[in-house]
């Protein structure tokens, strides 16, 4: 396959600076509401601040890929004497937890770095964090070409995993027939 140049966008998280205000969750959910900024619901945010206040854990994590299965072994980390729960650093929307799933539909959410046309200078959560916890970075890498998966595809995949191909096809056919 051909090599193409791809811009990799990441958000570096300086968790030591996080004060746990959750402004990132607020702005993310507002930006991704339809129409934009019409509603706020941190449970829909694609970034979540994992918080255990008395353990000094404030950890912003943004949503990664959806995964249909729980993982085999789970990791616990002790860093600076703080024990992090299993799943703390994991970005996946997965069957074992509610995180990064739309609270109404249960469909997985994924951070899209606030893709828009024209593009934003930086994702909204980075802009909203006045304590410089979230640092936006771009770098160019050569990667093998592959088809980008759309948000609809991601959502459908989750439905297929849950209900099987046939049921989803049937449902779509039924909807189409009804017009």
């Amino acid at each position: 396959m051909a090599k193409i140049k791809k811009t990799i966008k990441t958000i570096k998280v300086d968790a030591d600076k996080c004060n746990g205000c959750r402004a990132c969750e607020v702005i993310c959910s507002a930006y991704h509401s339809e129409p934009k900024y019409s509603s706020i619901n941190p449970a829909r945010a694609r970034i979540q601040v994992i918080t255990h206040r008395l353990k000094d854990i404030w950890l912003p994590v943004f949503a990664g890929e959806y995964t249909p299965a729980e993982c085999m072994g789970r990791d616990k980390y002790i860093i600076d004497g703080k024990e992090y729960d299993e799943c703390s650093f994991c970005r996946a929307a997965c069957p074992s937890r509610d995180m990064f799933k739309d609270p109404d539909s249960g469909l997985p959410l994924k951070c899209d770095m606030c893709e828009s046309d024209p593009p934003l200078a930086q994702p909204k959560c980075v802009e909203a964090c006045l304590n410089d916890v979230l640092i936006y970075q771009e770098r160019v890498e050569e990667v093998e070409e592959e088809a980008e998966q759309s948000a609809i595809q991601t959502g459908l995949e989750a439905l297929v995993d849950k209900h099987g191909f046939q049921k989803v096809i049937d449902a779509i056919a039924l909807m189409a027939n009804r017009g």
Partner: protein, 656 residues
């Protein structure tokens, strides 16, 4: 669709265990906005003046503000309102933290609690699912500890929990409600909660809060972001560091406490130590504070960092904010800041107000020194300052021995103890402990604020106007040059003319008329913040704040899809403010109660003080007794209040 608000309240009767989700009347939002405004209306309608704090009919309302849960910075206040066991008037202590936004996301604007549960319970609100759960296993647990235990029990680390400690369970009149890094402390909400058999309210919400004109709203947020960045990078140069920034005083960040420790009074609000802040203190406190603070902590959606995670030696970690850092140490005459980190953890677990409690403990020490409390009363009490405070704190929270008196607060304790103890209750107004300040010359602004504020706490009326005139003309000029928050240009002249000495100085300047304008403006800002659920540290309790009279209407308009201007906003908060006053008038509050502590200033001016009060009452549209006149009430669409006050003989026909 309802915007900014959810349009639903949760009504819970703890006697019967009934839980109702009740749609609210949008007209109430038009008339009172939300937060304190709509809560006051509910108290007026449903709590008759005969109801006492510990009657089942006393409502305990946990309210969000109109903007809580929206992207408006620092809109995170939970306003708790109830008839106070200490003052017998409406108290409305508020807390920051994370609870109110969570309640909005669960789909409710308020939780209205009535009745009493036969056994200790807690309430679990998870969107549409609301349960009253057994809490007997949490009896006696700390207010902070309880929050963690409930989160574990519910297996939901995202649940936000407001809880009481042992003091609340024991109906201590100065018991607080604790939540994350905040407390709803003044006036004894914890005692009312404990009396109702309610240990905690846990809430988790995953629903939407809607904005009518979201894009327009975000333009306001963006502008404010720029302002906050600017203010954070450019602290005000004319004032001391502790007052130079945004937020409630950044007492976790700033170590230099020269201003508080030297201007405020130590012990039972007695002694000013004008040479306290030495190099050595500075060195010791720097070490103590930097070692104790593990991390700075914010409330929901706020960029400022007024709180901190405290990890001091063997004290289990906890969150602290603001002035509690100083109150216990100053009341106990302890110069070692380490004492604060230790005793605050204990006091927060008990769930006690950090303003009132230290003064009550210092009052007890004075009574002992005066021989009113005897060796027998103090049997088992250590003799060192620190040890004495820990011992007294335990007694008070447990209502053991003399602690049973102390638990009722300075005013009531003094009257129950007798033997001349009344003379040591020198720092209360309307039976409530006031800020520990003792000064020389009467200040007309502060006279009015201490006398008339419905919260009965100076921090809930003061704020935008500097506490004292600046000595240098240049500093005054540079301060007014950039002051867009003012409601009117004429205030600049008032400030420029105000001098530390001479004709234009306290107590005769600002004049009663000018004082009325300034105090009314500052109070109005607090009332707006309390309706919107905004932190006073970003608005009413801060020099040159982010929120002010010129931008509040823009936030409200965009959030709700209305077109509100400054005048209509002023009218709404004036309406709620007068309803609030009428509620207290109906409970017997009148001019005779409106007095600052007698020794607040050394130099008093009885005639001038009478004139100040009368002028201010007239400015507010209140009669000589401090009751809103029919004319004023009519202007504010409160004819039903005038009727009620007349029927009760509080407002006399034809008097106005």
């Amino acid at each position: 669709m309802r915007y900014a608000e959810t349009g639903y309240n949760l009504e819970i009767d703890l006697t019967t265990g009934s839980i109702e989700r009740v749609e609210t009347d949008p007209k109430m939002t038009d008339l009172h906005l939300g937060g304190l405004g709509t809560s006051v209306k509910i108290h007026w309608d449903r709590v008759s003046p005969e109801v006492k704090a510990f009657d089942p009919e006393n409502l305990l309302i946990f309210s969000t503000g109109l903007l809580c849960g929206t992207p408006a910075f620092s809109a995170n206040r939970t306003l708790v309102s109830f008839v106070s066991p200490q003052t017998d008037l409406l108290a409305y202590p508020m807390m920051g933290g994370f609870w109110s936004s969570e309640l909005k996301y669960a789909g409710y604007d308020k939780v209205i609690i009535r009745g009493k549960s036969p056994k200790l319970v807690y309430i679990w609100i998870h969107n549409d699912k609301v349960e009253i759960r057994d809490a007997t296993h949490l009896k006696g647990k700390g207010a902070l500890e309880t929050q963690e235990l409930i989160r574990e029990e519910l297996k939901d680390p995202k649940a936000q929990v407001a809880a009481i400690g042992l003091a609340g369970e024991n109906r201590v009149f100065v018991a607080s409600i604790e939540q994350s890094r905040s407390s709803s402390a003044r006036g004894g909400g914890g005692a009312v909660m404990g009396d109702k058999g309610l240990k905690a309210i846990a809430v988790r919400g995953t629903k939407d809060v809607n904005l009518a004109r979201g894009a327009e709203f975000m333009v306001q947020v963006q502008e404010m972001t720029k302002f906050i960045k600017h203010r954070n990078e450019n602290p005000l140069k004319e004032v001391m560091p502790i007052m130079s920034g945004l937020g409630s005083p950044q007492m976790m960040k700033h170590i230099d406490e020269k201003w508080h420790t030297e201007s405020f009074a130590w012990g039972n609000a007695r002694v000013r130590r004008k040479d306290f802040w030495t190099e050595e203190i500075d060195k010791n406190w720097t070490k103590s504070q930097t070692e104790a603070i593990k991390r700075f902590v914010s409330c929901f959606n706020c960029p400022q960092q007024c709180g901190a995670l405290i990890c001091h030696e063997d004290v289990p970690p906890y969150l602290m904010k603001c002035f509690s850092k100083l109150t216990y140490a100053m009341a106990a005459y302890v110069d070692d800041l380490d004492f604060s980190w230790r005793i605050c953890k204990k006091a927060f677990e008990y769930g006690l107000d950090s303003f009132s409690t230290p003064q009550i403990l210092a009052f007890a020490v004075e009574l002992y020194e005066a021989g009113i409390f005897t060796d027998k009363d103090f049997e088992g009490c250590p003799t060192d300052k620190e040890g004495r405070f820990y011992w007294l704190l335990d007694k008070l929270a447990r209502r053991e021995g003399i602690g049973d008196y102390l638990a009722d607060g300075t005013y009531w304790a003094a009257r129950r103890i007798g033997k001349g103890a009344e003379a040591f209750d020198h720092n209360t107004t309307k039976k409530h402990e006031q800020m520990n300040i003792k000064l020389g010359m009467l200040d007309p602004l502060y006279f009015l604020m201490f006398a008339t504020n419905e919260k009965i706490s100076i921090t809930q009326i003061e704020g935008n106007w500097p506490q004292a005139p600046f000595p240098s003309k240049e500093a005054r000029q540079s301060f007014v040059d950039d002051w867009p928050q003012l409601p009117d240009e004429k205030f600049k002249k008032y400030f420029l003319d105000w001098e530390p000495r001479g004709e234009n100085s306290n107590p005769y300047y600002p004049t009663p008329e000018i004082s009325s304008e300034i105090v009314d403006w500052m109070e109005m800002l607090h009332n707006i913040d309390d309706a919107l659920g905004l932190c006073a540290g970003m608005g009413s309790f801060c020099f040159k704040p982010a929120y002010h009279i010129h931008n509040y209407p823009k936030f409200i308009s965009a959030a709700m899809g209305v077109d509100m201007d400054e005048e209509s906003l002023k009218k709404i908060v004036n309406r709620s403010r007068n309803l609030h006053r009428a509620f207290n008038n109906r409970r017997g509050m009148t001019r005779a109660d409106e007095k600052p502590p007698q020794d607040h200033w050394k130099h008093r001016f009885p005639e001038l003080e009478e004139k100040l009060l009368t002028t201010y009452y007239e400015f507010k549209g209140w009669n000589y007794d401090g009751i809103p006149t029919r004319k004023r009430l009519h202007e504010l669409d409160l004819d039903y209040v005038a009727d009620d006050l007349e029927q009760r003989g509080i407002l006399k026909d034809g008097q106005d």
